[in-house]
């Protein structure tokens, strides 16, 4: 008799309700949201630094992303436009944390911006998210535990989905 290794999710009793409530797959649980909010309390003091580092990194490690910034004079890590834009991005992510209960509505304007004006291929949201995670591991090594990692990864994926809403 093969050993049963499947473990039902803790909130399996709520699945009926959840299925109706949630439009997206792999949505944020209450625990995820609490984890994200608590962790963001520690991030916000270093947010600009983290944003600048993540963006710098992305431009170096994934050079195809530079195509979106051809209008900047200097794309090197820590340059003035990178610093400024890194801060802008992190302010957006921080705003998303405050709107975590309804990201689609909360990020409507940003979605329209990315869809119609910036026209960033949504695959790049994943790339930037990965670089944010790397920077979090560097800057907050003891706080960025596997449990926090999964919650933040899910959150950034949810933000990416909300940003992609208006694309087509």
């Amino acid at each position: 008799m093969p050993r049963l290794t499947y473990k039902p999710p803790h909130d399996c009793l709520l699945i009926g309700i959840r299925t109706k409530q949630l439009a997206n797959r792999m949505s944020l649980t209450a625990k995820d949201k609490d984890t994200v909010k608590a962790f963001w309390g520690k991030v916000s003091a270093k947010a600009e630094d983290i944003g600048q580092d993540a963006l710098s990194r992305m431009l170096v490690v994934y050079p195809q992303t530079k195509t979106y910034f051809a209008h900047w004079q200097d794309l090197s890590p820590g340059s003035a436009p990178v610093k400024k834009h890194g801060a802008t991005i992190m302010a957006g992510v921080g705003d998303a944390v405050s709107k975590i209960d309804d990201l689609t509505a909360g990020l409507l304007n940003l979605s329209e911006l990315h869809a119609f004006t910036l026209r960033v291929d949504p695959a790049n949201f994943k790339i930037l998210a990965h670089n944010i995670l790397v920077v979090l591991a560097i800057r907050l090594p003891s706080d960025f535990t596997p449990e926090v990692h999964v919650a933040i990864d899910k959150f950034l994926a949810a933000v990416a989905r909300a940003l992609s809403e208006k694309y087509r």
């Binding site: 170096v60 490690v61 990965h130 995670l133 790397v134 920077v135 560097i138 596997p146 990692h149 990864d153």
Partner: protein, 147 residues
């Protein structure tokens, strides 16, 4: 044929000399099983993987982490021919273990994050780029024998 710059060669060698190899493989595997729980499908015989704490303390996860680390170190020593060095591993993963190759990137991302955590500020964007290039070559070599 992958071309490595002198900087990349030196950087990869340096990274492997600095990281705690006893820990990195296990921490990365443990993180992968926690952050991407569907990867647990390949580890049915590992026992308790029910939550992050169980995964982190699971002795089979720790042991397998060391196996993975050994393979990465082997790749680092064979930079100019990882593809051939990994032929048997690729056949193993495709024919015997039947691992969906998309999972290799998930584990590679976790390895990057664990190494970043260990090296801290020394994991500069340039060092990071060299390391991700190395992992991309490892992943591509592991995919090579799938058909």
């Amino acid at each position: 044929m992958v071309k490595w710059t002198d900087f990349e060669r030196a950087t990869i060698k340096d990274i492997f000399s600095k990281i705690d190899s006893g820990v990195v493989g296990s921490a990365a595997l443990s993180r992968c099983l926690t952050v991407y729980p569907w990867t647990q499908r390949y580890f049915g015989k590992f026992g308790n993987l029910f939550n992050a704490a169980a995964i982190a303390s699971n002795p089979k996860v720790k042991a397998h982490g060391k196996v993975i680390m050994g393979a990465l170190e082997m790749a680092a020593k064979n930079l100019d021919d990882i593809k051939n060095a990994y032929t048997q591993l690729s056949i193993l993963h495709s024919e015997k273990l039947q691992v969906d190759p998309d999972n290799f990137k998930l584990l590679a991302d976790c390895v990057t994050i664990v190494v970043a955590g260990q090296l801290g500020k020394a994991f500069t964007p340039e060092v990071h780029a060299a390391f991700e290039k190395f992992l991309a070559v490892v992943v591509a070599s592991l995919r090579k024998q799938y058909y």
